[in-house]
Amino acid sequence: MADTITLEVFRYRPDEASEPVFQSYEVPLHKDWVILDALNYIKDQLDGTLSYRWSCRMGVCGSCGMMVNGKPVLTCAAFVEKYAPGPVRIEPLENFPVVRDLIIDMSDFLHKLKQVKPWIIREEEEAPDKEYLQTPSQLADYKPYSMCINCMLCYAACPVYGLEPDFVGPAALALAQRYNMDNRDQGNRQRMEALSHDHGMWQCTFVGDCSAVCPKNVDPAGAIQRYKVETATHWWKNLLLPWGKDK
């Protein structure tokens, strides 16, 4: 095995150049290194101007998602060795505007997250010294959807989000379901109304790319299908039984 590998890194500096370019860097090929370690090597030793986000290096903060050889991955969990002999192409996550180099603008997601009301909605909060009961099986109902780290890999993989930027998208919908399915929550109806104008959801064809790239096995595709079924049922009920609107 060679002892170095070449990274072809997407560079875009709006202050200085209007067009993105790829810049090649040769880095040591260490068995223990992940792509993020290689980027840190570039930043520290070769080129201090390369910009990207990272923090925890243990797959839980969600900062370091990038396209590596065309696939969205967390670079802290992608061993360089896997890509040998290279070269490896590193690009910012697809479907997002690029701020600079490998840094995307994800403000759209923050806006959409708020739109789905990802918090417990109840008519009344329980007394401050009393917990709500929740059995392990009730917890298990929504737990997988609560594992989303907001890393944006699913948006980068989503063919619908690429074409229909208004689509609320996989992670936000999974989080809406996370609260809908929590037995402590009563906000299902409110969330459904917030999503009723989302055309993107109906274009989701259950390709499942979002679930395939999710590093935390959240299965947003499953959440979206569930939502479609619930919304359709809700719509038919209101149409056929207008006197008994469901809650």
């Binding site: 201090g48 917990e131 929740q134």
Partner: protein
């Protein structure tokens, strides 16, 4: 240079991890009229609270008591905790945790639907609430998502605060860089709360994320606020070699063994009790973190550790727990081992070694989170109340950020509501306005001269950082002496001088991460200086601060908190203030007997 109009808010919070978000919600609930600014150098859900694994302590079960929680905390802290703060902390902990439950935190449960608790190191009773082994992740996302319903919270995501604005002995805001554009702006507020977390990145081998660079500690320190008890740095006994990824104490609470190279449970040789097949509270693997990390070094000195490419290590063995327990209670541990260490803990032992984890010390505050600087508050790891003393009890930090985040939020809200500032309404008006305008202009000039427009720097950021790491690990690690500390001090002093010639190759204004790295490094150097100075002056061994030249605890002279005050062009000045003792007279720390 144009002066962008300053942002204004009633309460400004710097740092949007667990403590910052809890504070923001507290302000919003305390006074709906107040506007809240929330500055963070990363999106809130990226904050390091996300990495906390094992759980959060609060008394909820009938066999437990507030006094037990207080005693475990105080003895765990080697009697350096302020006992009034601890009493209030354990008392408010359960209601804070129930609040998290109401906000949707997915706590692990018992069959009957009640919240489950697990044991943790240094605890007399089981009282650690947990969400499998991703407790910090779930708490952070629950807090962040809950904060979204409060429209009065205005977030400044990816803004980096560079200095506090202090007018006439009062903190009135901050200057910060909007990272996406490079714009330098003043953010003016009636009260400011710093919640920026710890500074583990001052050491080379740490569980702490890249962002844990002591920024808030440095902001306060430079504004004349003392840093308290900085000599106390917690090493967690079980980190993965190379990456420093934390393997939670919950692995030992569930029954994991620590084994030396001979497969021997070596903790029995260090006055931590006898080895039993099942975990025993306050014994062996469930002893406190400082004692376990120190035992590792002794074991290494005896030549009984293993050696790998990244230094000495021992084994953490959880194989006997079985697949089911590991998958339900420790799934993240398994995921981390599989993904980052390429081993399956169901079948193999985990290599571990002590790793810098937590700063007990921080910005000096009272029990309301107030610092000595009027209008300035602090909470979470960046602050020192102190409930952690000389060694923090595992699973107290998540609870601490809730209790004191909320307290600081309420206190800051009350203070802000009592002020009728002349600097509000978006302008630099009146005499206070003129001062702020001048302070802002000074800070812009400093940033441009020292960093942004600087040419011809010769010192690499990465080199200075690496040498700082070596200096800290070399002289201010688990065991220290006067000689080792003096050596570290000399090295840090030289690095501070070299830092004035730091090289910035990136001069663009859009998301300049090299500039941010340089600013973070300057914060780390300030923190390093305070750690060393406080450690030099404390001529005793207590908790995590072990001086081989002064191996005994000395209550007569050192039952006091250290306060490090920054001095221009000189070492910090160390003052002391007494530890508050209410009901628990200093005694021997007894584990396993």
């Amino acid at each position: 240079m144009t002066n962008p109009a300053p942002q204004t808010c009633d309460v400004l919070i710097i740092g949007a991890g667990g403590a910052g978000l809890r504070a923001a919600i507290a302000v919003a609930e305390a006074n709906p009229d107040l506007s809240i600014g929330l500055i963070s150098k990363v999106y809130p859900m990226r904050s390091h609270t996300v990495s906390a694994e094992g759980g959060a302590a609060a008394v909820i079960k009938e066999n437990d008591s507030l006094d037990h929680h207080a005693y475990d905390t105080i003895s765990g802290g080697d009697w350096m905790c302020d006992q009034d703060a601890v009493e209030l902390f354990v008392q408010e902990a359960p209601q804070e945790m129930i609040r998290m439950e109401h906000w949707g935190c997915p706590w692990s449960r018992e069959e009957n639907g009640k919240v489950a608790v697990r044991p943790f190191g240094g605890m007399k009773n089981k009282r650690t609430w947990f969400a499998a082994d991703k407790t910090g992740f779930h708490m952070l996302h629950t807090l962040f998502q809950t904060s979204l319903k409060h429209d009065k919270v205005l977030r400044f995501d990816e803004w980096f605060a560079t200095s506090l604005l202090v007018d006439d002995g009062r903190c009135v805001g901050t200057v910060a860089i909007e990272m996406a554009t490079g714009k330098i702006q003043a953010v003016i507020a009636k009260a400011v709360i710093i919640c920026t977390g710890g500074a583990g990145r001052v050491f080379p081998f740490t569980t702490n994320a890249n962002i844990k660079t002591g920024d808030g500690m440095a902001l306060a320190y430079r504004a004349g606020v003392p840093l308290k008890d900085m000599e106390f740095v917690q090493y967690h006994p079980t980190g993965l070699p190379f990456t420093g990824i934390l393997i939670t104490e919950a692995t030992r609470a569930e029954g994991g063994y620590l084994l030396n190279k001979d497969g021997y449970r070596y903790l029995q040789d260090y006055d931590l009790g006898k080895p039993e097949p099942k975990p025993v509270l306050r014994s062996m693997e469930l002893g406190p973190r400082d004692r376990l990390s120190q035992a590792f070094i002794k074991e290494q000195e005896k030549g009984r550790t293993l050696q790998g490419p990244y230094g000495h290590y021992v084994h953490l063995d959880i194989r006997h727990l079985g697949e089911k327990i590991i998958n339900t209670k420790l799934p993240f541990v398994r995921e981390l081992c599989l993904k980052y260490e390429n081993l399956d803990p169901i079948k193999e032992m985990i290599p571990v070694r002590p790793v810098v984890h937590y700063m007990m010390g921080g910005i000096h505050t009272d029990i309301h989170g107030a610092t000595p600087l009027k209008g300035l508050y602090a909470a979470g790891e960046c602050a020192c109340v102190s409930v952690n003393g000389a060694n923090r009890l595992g699973s107290n930090s998540l609870t601490e950020l809730l209790v004191f985040g909320a307290r600081a939020g309420k206190a800051a809200a009350t203070f802000a509501a009592s002020q009728n500032g002349g600097f509000q309404n978006g302008g630099f008006q009146g005499s206070a306005g003129n001062t702020i305008k001048a302070l802002y202009a000074d800070e812009v000039r400093r940033l441009e001269q020292q960093f942004l427009k600087k040419e011809g720097g010769t010192e690499k950021i990465a080199t200075i950082r690496k040498e700082m790491h070596n200096a800290m690990e070399g002289g201010a690690g688990i065991y220290r002496t006067e000689d080792s500390l003096l050596q570290s001090q000399k090295e840090i002093q030289a690095l501070k001088e070299r830092f004035t010639r730091v090289q910035i190759s990136d001069h663009s204004s859009t998301f300049n991460t090299e500039l941010i790295a340089a600013l973070e490094l300057s914060c780390l150097l300030d923190v390093a200086e305070a750690v060393i100075q406080a450690a030099l002056h404390r001529k005793e061994s207590r908790g995590s601060h072990q001086r081989t030249d002064f191996p005994k605890r000395d209550d007569e002279n050192y039952l006091v908190h250290s306060l490090a005050y920054r001095k221009d062009n000189d070492f910090p000045e160390i003052q002391y203030q007494p530890v508050t003792i209410t009901r628990w007279a200093p005694g021997e720390r007894v584990y396993g007997r």
